[in-house]
Symmetry: C2
Subunit: 237 residues, 2 copies
DNA sequence: TAATTTATGGCAGACACTGACAACTGACAA
DNA sequence: TTGTCAGTTGTCAGTGTCTGCCATAAATTA
């Protein structure tokens, strides 16, 4: 476990400093009214350097969410193959939040700050959705792989699309100031996931046995009961 | 029914010319490689004028979709109140496509061309999703109004979110060149909507009777029966 | 200490987008 | 027909995001 080396540590430090400065300025003056020059000046680096850390101005606010998506994907890959797709997605989501909770206090508040900002700023919100869409493709591929289906099949697309929709509805709460804590966020997300489970037929997220194509209201196998409930299960990678 | 007047007609003509020129150039050289100056030059107007018609460069490709969203909302408002939310949304969608089908040949091919481009260009795709999100709020408000619920309630959010997810999956087909015709598009969208209907419990999209809030860890099972069950059959004239 | 790799700053420039002002063009009434 | 008014357009100057290029300074390795 050798430390990352001075160079790498310096980079991480600069990255976080840029994110913090940007988040503060955005909250203070608004996203549009804040220029990249101001962010760079606040951290005492050149604007050119800013763009070496973040491809666009919105990326600096979205980068934490991007990290979250990466974790989600990794956690999904780690779920056992017997779990039905939607259940696995819900549990992976829980694991992701658990991992976030294990971070520094500064990390946690930074994440929440960024989420509030994203939800309140149309430009950032759009960017966030864009990222989620990109991630959706990877999730679809992973679900298809788990279930031995083609990524072109309708079902995995539908399952993932429905899942991300539910997550989005759960995340909306960040915009209305009712979220002060990561556990508040967990609670909201779980509520929506439960609503989804209650609304769907058992076995909806798996192809009907003996049915090659993605369809069929098959007999209820796996995903019936309170799947999304088990909030702990902290698996690390 | 008096004609719109010369001034208005000229404006519409310029607008369509800009859209057509942009669509051609985007398809030819790619979205990023095309500058606003080129589009303006192709229609022989100043770049400044371009921005008087479209707020941003991506808007020129998205404007037809925006029109579609407006129609969808209007059609939803026209659906009878007895229809369950999800059914009403599906039928409104069908009405929208039907209205598009009634347009000029040029109109139809332009629409499909724009959709292909959006689906194939990440930047445009993101913009399209952003638009859909904005529209989602209006759809939520309308559904909440129909059902006599608060727009803050979880259920209308979930219903609309699930609906737009399904539509998005259906629209994906535009990217893979398998759509040559608006009726192809209708077919794809209906397939996904049917998959959704099959996956969901009857009555899922209406609050359980006697249950004021649409949230709480309520009574387990669904409510009545077959409210939303009637597949994609609903065509209006 | 010398050689190599990598982060950084400064600079010029392309492109998206905006505000202000002046010139032009349909709409409409006397 | 003519004059007035309102809406449309082009020009110009400017801001801000983002990129390529090259020289410099700092960290890593030998």
């Amino acid at each position: 476990m050798s430390r990352p080396g001075l160079r790498e540590r310096k980079k991480q430090k600069t990255r976080l400093a840029l994110i913090d400065a940007a988040l503060d300025l955005f909250a203070e003056q608004g996203y549009d009214a804040t220029t990249v020059d101001q962010i760079a000046a606040a951290v005492d680096v050149s604007p050119r350097t800013f763009f070496r850390y973040f491809a666009t101005k919105e990326d600096v606010a979205l980068s934490l969410d991007a990290d979250g998506h990466e974790i989600l994907l990794a956690e999904l890959a780690a779920r056992p193959a017997e779990e039905p797709p939607f259940t696995a997605l819900g549990r992976a989501m829980n694991s992701m939040i658990t991992i976030l909770e294990q971070g520094d206090t500064a990390d946690r508040s930074r994440f929440l700050k960024a989420r509030e900002l994203i939800e309140a700023t149309p430009a950032l919100f759009a960017g966030g959705v864009r990222m989620m869409m990109q991630n959706e493709r990877l999730l679809v591929a992973e679900i298809a792989r788990r279930e031995g289906m083609s990524p072109d099949d309708l079902l995995p697309h539908f399952v993932v699309s429905l899942f991300t929709s539910a997550i989005r509805v759960g995340l909306e709460a960040c915009g209305s100031g009712e979220i002060n804590d990561l556990s508040d966020l967990t609670r909201h997300v779980e509520r929506v996931l439960e609503l989804a489970e209650r609304s769907l037929r058992p076995g909806w997220d798996r192809p009907a046995p003996g049915d090659g194509t993605a369809s069929g209201a098959g007999p209820g196998s796996g995903s019936g009961e309170g799947t999304a409930g088990d909030g702990g299960a902290g698996r690390t990678g």
